[in-house]
């Protein structure tokens, strides 16, 4: 199993600002995944972050809005840029195990 730490666990942000979420894994992993969970909804994959290359974004998500860094095999950041109330969500970092995904505790963002 993998232990994943996310920071911040929650934050309240003002419209128009940006926030960076950090994800630290206790082991080296090739791919890290960023998900968004809007209130009362399921998880939607934002992007896959590979070390040493640009992140791969899913349909509906763009790098300008959700820039991702992956400086090494244990760490990644997701920035939510120019936030609006529609960005209020839980953002989850995950890594792949033998078959399943391991998740961090999530970062709950509220945008006012």
């Amino acid at each position: 199993s993998a232990v994943i730490s996310q920071k911040p666990s929650r934050d309240i942000c003002q419209r128009g600002t940006s926030l960076t979420i950090q994800c630290q894994v206790d082991s080296q992993v090739t791919m890290m995944f960023w998900y968004r969970q809007q209130p009362g909804q399921s998880l939607t994959l934002i992007a896959t972050a590979n070390q040493g290359s640009e992140a791969t974004y899913e349909s509906g998500f763009v790098i300008d809005k959700f820039p991702i860094s992956r400086p090494n095999l244990t760490f990644s950041t997701l920035t939510v840029s120019n936030m609006s109330p529609e960005d209020s969500s839980i953002y989850l970092c995950s890594v792949r195990g033998p078959g399943e995904l391991f998740f961090g505790e999530g970062s709950r963002l509220t945008v006012l």
């Binding site: 994943i4 791919m31 969970q37 909804q41 399921s42 998880l43 939607t44 994959l45 896959t48 839980i90 989850l92 995950s94 195990g97 078959g99 399943e100 995904l101 391991f102 998740f103 961090g104 505790e105 999530g106 709950r108």
Partner: protein, 115 residues
Amino acid sequence: SQQGEEDPQALSIQEGENATMNCSYKTSINNLQWYRQNSGRGLVHLILIRSNEREKHSGRLRVTLDTSKKSSSLLITASRAADTASYFCATASLGLQGGSEKLVFGKGTKLTVNP
């Protein structure tokens, strides 16, 4: 597009009763997984069933998979108040052009077990 669809959306039972949640999906899969989420926190993997398996058990959990009907069910037996959580199914399929496997999550069932 959303792959898994769970029903019911919400389920409330008494402690000791069994809870059954269903998941339907639309396309071919490699495997189907069930996850649990406590109160908007991170998800915890419960069980994985491969496309060539029909039933799997883990403790009080029983999962079935019917690929002809593109459906799965999660049964929690002898439920406890601590089982109160949201349960999500997730289907794993190969990405386009043989790319890495992707997980697509359903909308989840919110289970409440009353003491």
